[in-house]
Amino acid sequence: MSRADCPRLTLGSVVAIAREGGFAAMPGLSRPRRFACRDLTEGQRARLQALIDEIESLGSPGSPGGNDRMVFRITLEDTGETPSWERLVDESLTPKSLNRLWKSGPAALGD
């Protein structure tokens, strides 16, 4: 996949992150977060873009298989409610920065 295909964040973009699955798949463990680019600083937006690029660059390392594994669902919404880009990333292949972002929110993106 060429770099040009990578989604680019705009001021109107909203990035949603949620965790799913696991033996204890309970509603409260999903902790969905939404990051509206409009509310982020330029630096935070750049770091969010870098994370999306990183997820995109993972290519297809293959699912580790098995059962009761947790995955992160990352969705990019531009205008409208239809996601323009969506990825499921197995927890074991998840970039640390994504985990931090899901855990801590925009604070994980720095200033």
Binding site: M1, D5, P7, A25, L29, S60, G62, D68, S84, S92
Partner: protein, 350 residues
């Protein structure tokens, strides 16, 4: 960028079971993408599986369990360092010793009740890793071994604390080998349900509980006292296991009328499993005595039946259990009637 995701983007991180469905049912472009990804996945798995020397010895003879318990030392590397192997005394590490004991109880259940010799019925070594990750609220089967987190301590205790959790994960290995039920939608919920059904039966067998004495809870003792809940799932009354400000309310349905349509968690495999879970509970309690005497063998017969397809839905499995109840106990038998009635009661069969 606008519009729907392109097919190549969609398939890049799809789990194999979804890809398999796409490869067989999707449009031409999607099919090719799915096939390419599946090939890459197969190569990936082959690379990671081709380390025979790393795998400890299987059981030397039927009836003898072969357990190996490792610690991940709060990292996420598998299997980690070996702490206790078959025959070794208590390690003093409670998670290690629980995993060892519960894997033993699960092996014993499959052997004593069904004469099944481990996960593959060929004496496969039982490998468990504890202390996986930091504050990790999960347990899973990775296709080769079982993995248990310590829990975060706030909401969850360690995942080895409940026998049925260990038995649930081991049973995923049995299901994978026997039926290979695709882990999405109804076949995925069926996969989850079977892991719960045999998990709860292992618990009842170990503690010698009749169907009336048993609590039919999955993950009892996993939730800390801060949580308003008894367990993660209730097979007797799906949807009633917990109702907590932080964890939310147990979303499991116990009837097809309440089947949950969702994309999340592979189509809600841990949610809709409540329906077949309750069917098993109803059949077993109607028959009385010990669950592994009549209902259990019928469910195992259906699980290992060659006619059970990888993408089987609830109704297909239900008809198979009735068929196997008839074969085992006779037409018009109490077992046949109880199983038939159970599936009707949860709305899976008319």
């Amino acid at each position: 960028m606008t519009g729907m995701p392109t097919s190549s983007r969609l398939t890049a991180f799809m789990p194999p079971h979804v890809l398999e469905r796409v490869a067989s049912h999707g449009n031409a472009r999607l099919k090719q993408c799915a096939r390419n990804t599946l090939q890459a996945d197969a190569q990936f798995r082959l690379r990671n599986a081709s380390r025979p020397s790393a795998r400890p010895a299987d059981s030397p003879r039927p009836g003898q369990v072969a357990r190996y318990i490792y610690t991940a030392n709060r990292q996420q590397t598998l299997p980690g360092s070996l702490v206790r192997e078959e025959g070794a005394p208590d390690s003093g590490d409670v998670a290690v010793d629980e995993a060892y004991q519960w894997l033993g109880a699960t092996y014993r259940f499959y052997w004593e009740v069904f004469e099944r010799h481990s996960i593959d019925d060929e004496g496969m070594a039982l490998i468990g890793t504890v202390h996986y990750g930091e504050d990790y609220d999960n347990a899973f089967w990775n296709g080769a071994q079982m993995v248990f987190g310590d829990g975060d301590g706030e909401l969850f205790n360690r995942f080895t604390a409940a026998l049925e959790v260990v038995a649930h994960e081991l049973t995923h290995g049995v299901i994978e080998r026997e039926a290979g039920l695709i882990y999405a939608d109804q076949s995925g919920a069926l996969n989850e349900s079977l892991a719960d059904v045999f998990g709860v039966m292992v618990k009842q067998h170990h503690f010698e509980q009749t169907v009336d004495e048993a609590d039919w809870l999955i993950g009892e003792g996993l939730l800390t006292e801060r949580v308003n809940g008894r367990a993660l799932r209730s097979m007797a009354h799906p949807g009633t296991a917990y109702d907590d400000p932080v964890l939310g309310k147990d979303p499991q349905p116990g009837h097809m009328d309440d089947f949950v349509q969702t994309a999340s968690d592979n189509g809600g495999v841990h949610i809709n499993s409540g329906i077949p879970n309750r069917a098993f509970y109803l059949a077993a309690t109607r028959l009385g005595g010990f669950a592994w005497e009549a209902a259990g063998p019928v469910w195992l017969d259906a699980l290992i039946d060659a006619r059970l397809a990888r993408d089987a839905d609830f109704a297909t499995f239900a008809r198979l259990t009735i068929d196997r109840a008839t074969a085992r106990f006779g037409g018009g038998s109490e077992a046949e009637r109880a199983v038939t009635q159970a599936w009707a009661d949860v709305g899976v069969l008319p």
